[in-house]
Symmetry: C2
Subunit: 316 residues, 2 copies
Amino acid sequence: MSEAELVRRLIAIGWRGSRAVRLGPGDDAAFLRGGLVVATDLAVEDVHFRFDWITPEEAGFRAGAAALSDLAAMGAAPEGLLVSLAVPDEPKLAEALQRGVRDAGDRVGVAVIGGDVSRSPGPVVMDVVTVGRARTVVTRGGAEVGQEVWVSGSLGGSAAAVAAWSAGTEPDPAARRRFTVPPDRIPLGSGLAGAELARSMIDISDGLVCDAGRVAEASGAMIVIDRDRVPVHPGAALDLNLALEGGEDYELMFTAPAGAESRIVALAQEVSVTVNRIGWVEEGTGVVLRDARGRRSIPGRGGYDHFPSPGSRRGR
Amino acid sequence: MSEAELVRRLIAIGWRGSRAVRLGPGDDAAFLRGGLVVATDLAVEDVHFRFDWITPEEAGFRAGAAALSDLAAMGAAPEGLLVSLAVPDEPKLAEALQRGVRDAGDRVGVAVIGGDVSRSPGPVVMDVVTVGRARTVVTRGGAEVGQEVWVSGSLGGSAAAVAAWSAGTEPDPAARRRFTVPPDRIPLGSGLAGAELARSMIDISDGLVCDAGRVAEASGAMIVIDRDRVPVHPGAALDLNLALEGGEDYELMFTAPAGAESRIVALAQEVSVTVNRIGWVEEGTGVVLRDARGRRSIPGRGGYDHFPSPGSRRGR
């Protein structure tokens, strides 16, 4: 069973509808009456990170920043974090993880307001709860035909670091830093939401193609991505496949009305983030990649290999 | 390092104060502006439960009910749960855990509004986030000299079940049920808070003596408990030590003004919960036990064994 299918089943088991809840499970966060936005995000040792790759402080920072990314994707402003740590009986390790999460909170101006800690005989498990506020939220379901597709920052750096570690080599420093320090997109996300420029939004945690597919599914539309417009992170050595399929970028993908380009670019400049228009929304379903000659292909397991990027063809 | 000391250190690392936060970490839940109450509670396989003791559905229910107990102890009304599951690659197991948590939510009328799931190479780790509302909350710090100490239900049943399993025997059915089905004290907790009868409150998760000690510490006062008044769960076979020191009862201990007895009993009857007055608040620090002759003793590691209960003296 795929993770996506498991998530669907878990949601079907747990969700009943509720007067108190304006948006239930299935998006980046839940949205409750009173403007409360809440999400939770797991980081598991040897699944999401390894201690022979990064330090406990870095693992904590990463977990905290990744969790906050869910709030950014809703256009919410954070108010606090809660941290649950299931850890071996090593207080110093727990304290280092907590310092890392704390630092991720500090970066966006919020404290750790609660949590839990337990001894565990297994790997370190961190669950970071993010609590924030928004007047309205931007969901995955707002993409409409004619809108344009945008992405913040650049993609693939984090996956490049993982690929290097997995191959037994040290990653490029820029790629390593991308893995250990996910970007803060709270100002961009809340700015886009407040100005009603973003009509759908998601944070890219499982790869651009995968997360674009979630927006397409939630919106009942097709997302077309111009391969040549996808910004590849410097640490990914021009490998477009890493940018398309690699995960844990924690950048934002959003759709916006056509003609909003100058306002979007101005807003992004205000918060010192680069943005790129990478595609548009059409009638249909799923995600389609388009090359420079206008030829279309459907990405998938290995499907993207039929159209190797310049970076993966040459030079390596 | 004790768990209490580790918790103190983690709080010191993470907490900074915040305008958005009316009550930070260190109580049963955090309290934010807008009346939001939020807490998180870990349940770790082979630490909090074992699958040769209970089923996955029971483990999920227990985790959900234990998490909701934190809201009860604040006097808050729940609005939703979020469930993070770090589990082996067994979808059926994850679904069974989710059904259990869902059922605990159903019991108090709330749904699972979000969460996360990850494969894990280790034991099952569940983190249940509870979100609720309250106008004001009842903290651990409101005990004052002259108030009386009350406890809901009866204590020691859960610990009796764990003791039986640990000895390789099957627990008494009532004790087993106490472990698998923590009580719902939301109506009592919110009733006591709403009527301003409870001035301090905590849920008994680590044993009456331990949790009373937390209230004493947070309030800067001494809690005196009449040993003979402590209600022992039928499944605990009159073993007062289990009631005093055994954990995971998920009953409420609260302090109330003297003279409120009739109102408290009436309110408890309305929600079909028994309550017992077991002591009072004095000047001083810590927790003191008082026997029928008025002799006082300080409980502690093994200290309570100096005053064995009738149940542990005779008959076994």
